[in-house]
């Protein structure tokens, strides 16, 4: 019985530590630098959920890893306008392609789904209104922001 409790506790700790910890969007909003006129911005986020929380694949943007898909976490990157290819690789590689214009902000949400062996994480494009609402509940997981 004692062993069972220990296992349960370890499982709970593992699940909780899988979620993003960091300042909430509201706390860092004022520290987010303004977007340069010759660049576009892409926000990546994942809504907090225990389902598939342990699966945290890296996110690649045009072949370069820019961060990880963490439940309840968000980060952003600024890029030159053009074609964007986002890849999340779990047991299958899944791409999301879209365009980015100068001064434009796009929102990419990663979600989990069932897989054959493990869960899958896939990226999708989200409307500004929906994304901004969901982003309020997430924590910043990107590189430290200057004050």
């Amino acid at each position: 019985m004692k062993m069972l409790r220990l296992w349960f506790l370890a499982g709970l700790v593992a699940l909780l530590s899988a979620c993003a910890s960091g300042p909430k969007m509201m706390e860092v909003k004022s520290s987010i630098p303004p977007l340069k006129s010759n660049e576009g911005r892409i926000y990546f986020y994942r809504v907090a959920s225990m389902v598939g929380a342990a699966i945290q694949p890296s996110i690649s943007l045009n072949g370069t890893v820019v961060g990880e898909s963490k439940p309840g976490g968000f980060f952003f990157v600024d890029r030159a306008p053009g074609s964007i290819e986002v890849v999340t690789a779990t047991e299958v590689e899944r791409k999301l392609t879209f365009t980015l214009a100068a001064s434009e902000t796009r929102y990419v949400r990663t979600t989990t789904s069932f897989g054959v062996v493990v869960g899958r994480v896939q990226a999708g494009l989200v409307d500004r209104a929906e994304a901004e609402k969901e982003l309020e509940e997430t924590s910043y997981t990107g590189v430290p922001l200057g004050k």
């Binding site: 290819e85 999301l96 392609t97 879209f98 365009t99 796009r106 899958r120 999708g124 989200v126």
Partner: protein, 151 residues
């Protein structure tokens, strides 16, 4: 003696078949989800967009939501109130870029897509990154209203 029921061995066979069917019915959603992860690539052909020249472009407003079903098995709804900008044309029709919403089509991968409209019917989608046209097997009527020229 009058036989009122199936012989024992026949009953067992039927029982086994029923159990198998019940099992298959139970696992069907799981299998469907797994297969969805193995969806085929969106069928498309390379194309060249002829941009609206010179701008400004026409703006449109969707008056009625419409469900679009793709050959890959996925579907998407274009909501009433979505606004579009006519950004150019393909030989299949005019290309409308959503301005207050995002629209993607999905197969093995997910692609941003702009509806291609011909005589108020969505005949397919233009994939701006792939510079390709994905035809819709079953075109759907899109109820749109022209809202003037973009300033």
């Amino acid at each position: 003696m009058i036989q009122t029921s199936y012989p024992e061995n026949r009953r067992n066979t039927l029982g086994g078949t029923m159990t198998t069917l019940k099992f298959l019915r139970k696992i069907f959603p799981v299998v469907a989800l797994l297969l969805a992860g193995c969806a085929s690539e969106v069928t498309r052909q390379s194309t060249t967009l002829s941009p609206v020249a010179p701008s400004p472009a026409r703006q449109y407003l969707v008056q009625q939501s419409v469900l679009v079903r793709f050959d890959s098995g996925y579907d998407r709804t274009i909501q009433a109130g979505t606004t579009f900008l006519e950004i150019g044309a393909l030989k299949q029709g005019k290309v409308l870029k959503p301005t207050n919403a995002v629209f993607t089509i999905e197969g093995a991968h997910v692609h941003e897509a702009y509806p291609v409209v011909n005589e108020n019917r969505i005949v397919g989608f233009y994939l701006p990154v792939e510079q390709a046209f994905a035809q819709l097997s079953n075109p759907v009527t899109l109820s749109i209203e022209e809202k003037g020229i973009q300033k």
